[in-house]
Amino acid sequence: MELFFNPFDNLVCILLGISFTVWFTLLLVFIIVPAIFGVSFGIRRLYMKTLLKLFEWATLRIERGAKENNHLLYKPYSNAIIAKEPTSLEEEIKEIRRSGSNRDLNSAPEFEMSDIFYFARRGVASIMDDEVTKRFSAEELESWNLLTRSNNNFHYISLRLTVLWGLGLLIRYSFLLPLRVTLAFTGVGLLVFLTCVIGLLPNGRLKNFLSQKVHLMCYRICVRALTAIITYHDSENKPKNGGICVANHTSPIDVIILASDGCYAMVGQIHGGLMGVIQRSMVKACPHIWFERSEVKDRHLVAKRLSDHVEDKSKLPILIFPEGTCINNTSVMMFKKGSFEIGATVYPVAIKYDPRFGDAFWNSSKFGMVNYLLRMMSSWAIVCSVWYLPPMSREEGEDACQFANRVKAAIARQGGLVDLLWDGGLKRGKVKDTFKEEQQKLYSKMLRPTWAPPD
């Protein structure tokens, strides 16, 4: 027994006790209390500026290193590597025929053996670079952000840079990661506990008020758990009750980012496990729309529940991601028209992440959710901009599809993203045959317009 309480052990205990107390006080003062009241000390922005300077320096060193070895750097070109002709099928084939035809073009030309060139070139060009497949993997960076996961020019790193990288690794994994994990648990724990408590209150204004405050507070703690530095633009257009908020989807974090600035009703499928616990407790405090797995397929049921919710003006605006899947934040893909058929006012929101600090895209075929969250929490920061766009409604003579495309174009324009017509479902599924049939129809018109069937 005497061996247990020697003075050295006492000292260690005291030191540990003090450091834990200091740690938790700092946490409380600098992070949790501001989160509750929605104020910020500006520490994160300072951090961001410092990091940017560091990254510029790192890139310069790599470029210098490459020049010394007389090598060419691998430079990613995120926009396009080959020149794509924007001409239509008809124009191109006519041009090919014109250059090679021996006979008078006024006698309606039928088939030329050179027609095949058009399809051959289009096909090989799409093998070299296509618009769709690159949207489902992380965007490549032009400068290095000291994360190994995003570097292609590995062997040009000097000693100084390696030391810096090592230091960065140490800071990220031994300081930032535990801090963030602690905050995440605090945030989620508080959310579950407090919403359950509020759920005991009778329905009324007090309950709504408290539930909004609690949701906001917990999401703000989660935002700090990711060291997310968010800039909100045009807050006067924030979604109001009875409306539907649509945004482009990059990762599950989108929800936290939007919900820490406003109160929304979430829509989704009920999960099991921890997620399910959170969902069930959230719905006690205010009405969210959760579907059972079986109900998700039933489009009418989904539409009915959404429109019921929207008609009740006391309920919060619904948050929906019409792409249906995570895209890598360089483009916006096809919006599913379900939420645009309901007839409510749509509040579009554009979210653009700055990939230099940490890539927020969730590549669900590569990483599971836990793995993804750990990667998020061990990046430098998540920096993004959110634009609230002016509300839109369906116009006369516009169907749901056209309305969806109009909203999508507005979001793409604001966020500086490429507006694509392709379906995000192509991540996993095959493209529909109707697109090929369209091409075939266009071409058969060229052979002899009178033979092809009318539109």
Binding site: I116, F119, A120, R121, S126, D130, R149, K366, V431, K441
Partner: protein, 195 residues
Amino acid sequence: MGSRASTLLRDEEIEEIKKETGFSHSQITRLYSRFTSLDKGENGTLSREDFQRIPELAINPLGDRIINAFFPEGEDQVNFRGFMRTLAHFRPIEDNEKSKNAAVSEPLNSRTNKLMFAFRLYDLDRDDKISRDELLQVLRMMVGVNISDDQLGSIADRTIQEADTNGDNSISFNEFIKVLEKVDVEQKMSIRFLH
């Protein structure tokens, strides 16, 4: 995770490919990055399914034939060298190459080789002749269900009639070249790189 493209492709390999295809160093590393992103199985080769996963290629009426052009006779996998060799056919012809002497073996992107690529899209059985059936097959792929068999047949007959000079009712490679002698093959069968 970023692909470690340039670290896996050795400098000697890049030099060999450069010599064989004429692509520049940066074009080769860029295309290697593309190759690895298409290679879902991560085994250094591409299969037909890997190509079919590209939506723009899947909706191309001649998609399957183009994919076939990458695979040598009877094989199901294509490695990076083979991939580059086929893509090289579409490299634009630069001015300084036009005056190369005949002693140097013909570059992959010469006019003749570009025409050979197109010829092979028609000539499925690789017997160096485009028969009436082969022509009909390609026509059918390009028009879908929109034109009847009879009309298609008469188009095929007319095409063979015009091109066939030795009366064997099929189009040989030389006859193919003759028919297309005025077409600007160099431009129409080339893909320009932006960098």
